[in-house]
C-alpha cells in the first residue's frame, strides 16, 4: 500500500461509473448515487459562485460610509439573496449532498443508497426550488433578509417574497429526502462486520446531520407556508393588528434554523475526522467521544434556538433557560476540537492540501465556537445582537469551518471521484491564500461588532470605515483564494496524473475499490474485520 502519492504508476480502470454510459439521459435519469453527487456538485457550485458574487458587491458597497454604489433597496436585496443562496442552496446541501451522497454507500460497503430513485428526486426538487428562487431573483429579488422576519415579510415587503418562499419551501423537501435516505442506508445496509463502532466518523456525522434534517426542516416549511398564507389572505397569523404574534414566526423559524447551522457544520466535522486521521497516520483520539459528540450536538441543537431572540421581547426567564442550554451545546464541539488536536500527537503528520484545510478548520472553528459563547451570554448578547460581531461569528463557523471542511473533503476524495490527482503545489498555495484572506475579511468585523455597527446597514457612520476597508481588502484575497481551486480541479480532470485506488494510503472501504469506482462500487460486498482508522496493525506496537 503506497503511502505518498506514487505519481504516474497507475492508469484509470477501463470501465467505471463515469464512462459506463454517455449522454444527457445517462446523467438526468441516473440513479447511481455517485452521478447524483456530481449533479449536486455542479448545482451547488453555481449557487456558490452566485452567492460569492453578491458578497463581493456587498463588500464593495461597504468600502464607503455613504451608500453611494447603489440604492438601499438593491443593497437589501443583495444581502438577502447572498444569505439565501449561500445558506439554503450551498451550505446545507454542500457536504451531505456531494460528499455524503458519493461516499456514504461506499464507506459502508453498499451498492447504493436505500432508495436511489428518491435520491434523484431529491436533486430534482433542489433544482425546482432553485429555479423558483432564481426566477424571484431575476424578476426583482426579495428584500426581507434570509430570515423572512414577519410582519415585514408577511405584510410590508412588496418584493418577490412569495416566489422565494415557494423556492425555499420546495428546497426543504430536497434536504428532507437526503436525510431520510442516509438514515435508512446507514441503519439497514452496512457491510457484514461493520458495527456502529467500526464506522468511519464521517458516517456518524452524516447520521446526526440526517436526524436534524428530518426533525427540523418540516417546521421551517410550515413557518414559510404560514407566511405565504398570511400574505395571500391577511388573516393575522403574524399580523399584530389582527391579533397575531410576530414572535411566533421567530420561534418556528429558529426552531429549524439553529439546528440548520449544525446541519452545515456537522458533515464538515466528519470530513475533518477522516482527514486528520489519514494525514497523521493515526487512529482518532477517543473514537466514542467524537462519535457521540456528533449525536449530542444534533439532539441538544434543538433546545437552544432562543438565543437568537434574547432581545426580541422574549421573556427574561425563557432567555435564561435558552442561555444555559446554549452553553451545554458548546461542550461537544469543544470535545471534538480537543480530540482532533490530540490525534495529531505522536503522529506522522503530512502537509497535503486536505491536511492544511483540516488544520485551518480546527483553528478557525475554535475561534468561531468561542465567539459564539459571547452571544449565548445574556448580558453581552444585549449589546452584540444584530451587530457585525454576529456576522463575524457565523462566518467563522460557516466559511472558516464548513467551507474549509468542504474544500478539504473535495481535495481528499478528488482522486476517488475523478480518478486523477490535483496539483499539490497549487492546492497548498490556495489553502494559504484562503486562510489569510478569510482572517483579514472577518476578524475586523469582530471589532466593528463590539463598536456597535449594526447588521444589514447600507450606510454607516464614518468612524467604522477603516475596519470596513480592511474587511473588503480581505474579501478580495478570499475571492482569489476560492477561484484557484476551481481552475486547477477542472484542469486536473484532463491533465491530472492517474491516482490509483488509494493515493493517500487511507483506511476506509471507499479506498479499497478502484478510482473512479465501478457503478456498483464493489465487485462483491466487502467484509470488515478491523477497527476504524486501523492505520498500523497493533501486532508490533503495544497499545498506549
Amino acid at each position: 500500500m503506497s503511502t505518498a502519492p506514487a505519481a504516474g504508476k497507475h492508469e484509470l480502470p477501463r470501465v467505471h461509473y463515469l464512462n459506463i454510459d454517455y449522454g444527457i439521459r445517462s446523467w438526468l435519469f441516473t440513479t447511481d448515487h455517485k452521478r447524483i453527487a456530481l449533479l449536486y456538485l455542479a448545482s451547488i457550485s453555481f449557487f456558490f459562485v452566485l452567492g460569492g458574487l453578491f458578497a463581493t458587491i456587498i463588500r464593495l458597497e461597504l468600502l464607503t460610509p455613504a451608500g453611494d454604489l447603489m440604492e438601499s433597496e438593491t443593497y437589501n436585496k443583495l444581502f438577502t439573496m447572498h444569505g439565501i443562496a449561500m445558506i439554503f442552496f450551498f451550505l446545507i446541501p454542500s457536504v451531505p449532498a456531494v460528499l455524503g451522497n458519493f461516499l456514504v454507500p461506499m464507506m459502508i460497503g453498499a451498492r447504493d443508497l436505500a432508495f436511489p430513485r428518491i435520491n434523484l428526486l431529491s436533486w430534482y426538487i433542489y433544482t425546482l426550488g432553485g429555479l423558483f428562487t432564481l426566477f424571484a431573483m431575476a424578476s426583482g429579488g426579495v428584500d426581507t433578509g434570509w430570515t423572512f422576519y414577519t410582519p415585514y415579510s408577511s405584510t410590508y415587503s412588496n418584493t418577490h417574497v412569495m416566489a422565494t418562499a415557494l423556492g425555499v419551501f420546495i428546497l426543504g423537501f430536497s434536504s428532507i429526502l437526503t436525510g431520510f435516505n442516509f438514515i435508512i442506508t446507514i441503519h439497514k445496509m452496512r457491510a457484514p462486520g461493520l458495527t456502529w463502532f467500526r464506522l468511519p466518523l464521517f458516517i456518524w456525522a452524516h447520521y446526526a446531520t440526517s436526524v436534524i434534517m428530518i426533525l427540523g426542516t418540516p417546521v421551517v416549511a410550515i413557518a414559510i407556508a404560514l407566511v405565504g398564507i398570511e400574505r395571500l389572505f391577511h388573516v393575522g397569523i403574524f399580523d399584530p393588528a389582527l391579533g397575531g404574534d410576530p414572535v411566533l414566526f421567530q420561534h418556528l423559524f429558529w426552531f429549524y434554523s439553529h439546528p440548520a447551522v449544525y446541519i452545515m457544520i456537522l458533515p464538515s466535522m466528519g470530513v475533518i475526522s477522516e482527514i486528520v486521521c489519514c494525514f497523521s497516520r493515526k487512529k482518532i483520539f477517543g473514537y466514542p467521544f467524537v462519535a457521540f459528540s456528533s449525536v449530542a450536538i444534533a439532539l441538544l441543537g434543538f433546545l437552544v434556538w432562543g438565543h437568537h431572540m434574547f432581545v426580541s421581547s422574549q421573556s427574561m426567564y425563557a432567555g435564561m433557560v435558552f442561555s444555559i442550554l446554549s452553553f451545554l451545546v458548546a461542550i461537544p464541539s469543544a470535545v471534538k476540537v480537543f480530540n482532533w488536536t490530540a490525534t495529531m500527537y505522536k503522529g506522522s503528520v503530512m502537509y497535503n492540501a486536505p491536511m492544511l484545510y483540516a488544520m485551518g478548520f480546527i483553528g478557525l472553528f475554535t475561534m468561531g465556537g468561542l465567539t459564539g459563547l459571547f452571544l449565548s451570554t445574556l448580558a453581552t448578547d444585549v449589546h452584540l445582537h444584530d451587530t457585525y460581531f454576529v456576522v463575524a461569528h457565523f462566518h467563522y463557523i460557516m466559511v472558516g469551518g464548513a467551507i474549509m471542511g468542504y474544500l478539504g473533503g473535495i481535495h481528499f476524495w478528488w482522486p476517488k471521484i475523478s480518478g486523477r490527482l490535483y496539483p499539490e503545489g497549487w492546492a497548498r498555495f490556495s489553502a494559504l491564500v484562503i486562510f489569510i484572506g478569510f482572517n483579514l475579511t472577518f476578524f475586523p468585523q469582530f471589532v466593528l461588532g463590539y463598536l456597535g455597527m449594526p447588521r444589514r446597514y447600507h450606510a454607516y457612520p464614518p468612524e467604522f470605515q477603516v475596519l470596513n476597508v480592511m474587511s473588503t481588502a480581505g474579501a478580495s484575497i478570499l475571492a482569489v483564494g476560492y477561484a484557484i481551486p476551481l481552475v486547477y480541479l477542472i484542469w486536473s480532470l484532463r491533465y491530472g496524473l492517474a491516482a490509483g485506488p488509494n493515493p493517500w494510503g487511507a483506511k476506509g472501504l471507499e479506498w479499497q475499490t478502484t478510482s473512479p469506482p465501478p457503478t456498483f462500487n464493489f465487485p462483491e460486498t466487502p467484509v470488515v474485520d478491523e477497527e476504524a482508522y486501523e492505520y498500523y496493525p497493533m501486532k508490533e506496537a503495544e497499545v498506549v
Binding site: 451498492r111 445496509m189 418540516p218 417546521v219 388573516v235 418556528l252
Partner: protein
C-alpha cells in the same frame, strides 16, 4: 430468476432487508409529517392560550355532528386499511382489492363530508378574508381560529387526497397481481401513511370541534 427475486431491488441483499428499509423509511417520513403538522399545532396552542374566549366562540360555529361522523368514517377506513394489509400478508388478492376499494370509498366519503362543512362555512361568511362576518364574541380573534381551522383541516384534506391517490395506485398494482405473501411492501407502507393521516384527525377533532362545548 425466480418470480420473487424480480421484486428485489439491486441495492438490497434480500427481501427481508428491503422490507425493513421500506417500513423504517415510512416511519422516518412520518416523523417529518408530525413535525410539519407540529408547526401548526404550536401556532394553534399559542393563540388558543391567548384568546381562549374567541376560540370557544369560533368552535361553537363548527358542526359537531359532521365532525364526529367524519372521525368515525376515518376510523372505519383505518380498520379496512388494516384488514387490507392483513389480506396482503396472507396473499389473498381478492380480499386485498375489496378492502382497498372500501378504504378508498370511506376516504372519499370523508372528503365529501369535509366539502359539505366547508360550503356551510362559506355560506355563513366564516372563511377568513375580506368578507369574514362573525357576529359572536370578539370577531377579530375568532378569525384567527378559523384561519387555523382552515389551515389545519386543509393540509389534512390535502394529505387525504394524496393518500387516496396512493391507494388507487396500490389497488391498480394489486389488480395486476404484483403483490403476494412474500412481497407486499407498497401495501404496508401506504397503510402506515393512511393510519398516520387518521391519527392527525384524531387530534384535530377534539382541538377544533370540542373547544368549550360544555356551555
Amino acid at each position: 430468476m425466480s418470480e420473487h427475486s424480480i421484486a428485489l431491488a439491486h441495492q438490497f441483499d434480500d427481501l427481508e432487508q428491503q422490507k425493513e428499509a421500506a417500513i423504517l423509511g415510512m416511519w422516518v417520513f412520518l416523523v417529518t409529517e408530525v413535525m410539519f403538522f407540529g408547526g401548526m399545532f404550536t401556532g394553534y396552542t399559542i393563540y388558543r392560550f391567548k384568546y381562549h374566549e374567541a376560540f370557544m366562540a369560533g368552535s361553537d360555529h363548527l358542526d359537531l355532528l359532521l365532525g364526529a361522523t367524519n372521525t368515525v368514517v376515518l376510523a372505519l377506513s383505518s380498520l379496512t386499511m388494516a384488514m387490507a394489509v392483513r389480506s396482503a400478508q396472507l396473499g389473498k388478492r381478492r380480499a386485498l382489492m375489496s378492502y382497498l376499494s372500501l378504504t378508498l370509498l370511506l376516504g372519499s366519503a370523508f372528503l365529501v363530508i369535509k366539502g359539505v362543512e366547508y360550503s356551510h362555512k362559506f355560506h355563513q361568511h366564516l372563511v377568513p378574508g375580506p368578507h369574514f362576518a362573525f357576529e359572536g364574541h370578539d370577531p377579530q380573534h375568532a378569525q384567527l381560529f378559523f384561519s387555523f381551522y382552515f389551515a389545519m383541516t386543509g393540509f389534512h384534506a390535502l394529505h387525504m387526497i394524496v393518500g387516496i391517490g396512493l391507494l388507487a395506485v396500490i389497488l391498480w398494482m394489486s389488480y395486476k397481481g404484483r403483490f403476494n405473501a412474500e412481497y407486499h411492501n407498497p401495501v404496508e407502507v401506504s397503510g402506515l401513511y393512511w393510519h398516520f393521516v387518521d391519527i392527525v384527525w384524531i387530534f384535530l377533532f377534539p382541538l377544533l370541534y370540542l373547544v368549550g362545548h360544555h356551555r
